[in-house]
Amino acid sequence: MSAKLLSEPHSNQGIEDDRESAFYVLLYLGLLYTKHNQISQKLDTYLEIFDYTTVANNVAEGGDLKSNFLVTHSRADALNFDCHPMNDLIKDFRNTFSVRYEEPPSVAVLSNYEDLKRNPNGFAQALLYHPAALHEARQNLLKERGWLVKTIVKYLDDPDLVWPTDNMAKNNREANSKKRKRQEMELNSGLKSKKSSRDDRSSSKLVR
């Protein structure tokens, strides 16, 4: 579910929300089943993005971590997939979806934009890069037919794209928890073996 719907339960649901959900599905499955640099230590802190909710007046709210992931750099920049086109795709999507969570252009910027639009003075080209124009363009992309498909296909066509060769997808989280379990077991058995060796020694002493 989109961060906007999660933070404003009574807002209206549009195609932008479904498209944002699709992005999270991709990110979630990527985190769980493909190779990236956050598998060993911090996978849970990334998966928490999807689960973060608070309940107030019997209505689930949340999405702060989702919008945070879209707008701010810290978490997103630290995440690096082995598949480079995936990183570029996430960057591209973050750049567009974040428009929903950013501060919109100020009244002054907007009126300046409207003035320039009416009377470009030969700045028609430069007008494309006006902050208000960029904001508007990103908002329009979210609703544009074929945008999501086009963007995904663009990165699927990347020659750097390498599909995993092994057929069996591995669940990183389970692998992680298994690893942890194994470590715990080893630790326990290590303690036991120390204990038992001590016992052995004492028993062997007795026998002697």
């Binding site: 807002s11 209206n12 649901q13 195609i15 479904d18 074929g146 999501l148």
Partner: protein, 95 residues
């Protein structure tokens, strides 16, 4: 491609799925992606007439009539391939 199916439903049939999640995407052995579980979808035409957009998903409300219309539309377009997902959908509704 699942996102293309979503686009088609939205722009051609004016139907919004509203429940995109990893559990609602299935991939056939032929490698085709299917978007299933349309029981939360809404017909946007109704909402446009009323001049408002649909509210956030509430689990109870399903636009069943339009769901069946949509499914029969899919069946006509894709034939056998989607029949399986059609039955999957039916079982999901009964749950």
């Amino acid at each position: 491609m699942v996102v293309a199916a979503h686009d088609g439903a939205y722009f051609d049939a004016r139907i919004l799925h509203r429940d995109i999640s990893e559990g609602n995407i299935i991939i056939t052995t032929e490698g085709e992606g299917l978007l299933i579980d349309w029981d939360l979808c809404v017909n946007l035409r109704n909402h446009e007439v009323a001049g408002r957009r649909p509210k956030r998903t509430v689990r109870v409300s399903a636009d069943l009539f339009y769901l069946f219309k949509l499914l029969s539309f899919i069946l006509r377009v894709h034939g056998n391939l989607c029949r399986r997902s059609f039955y999957l959908n039916l079982t999901r509704i009964r749950e």
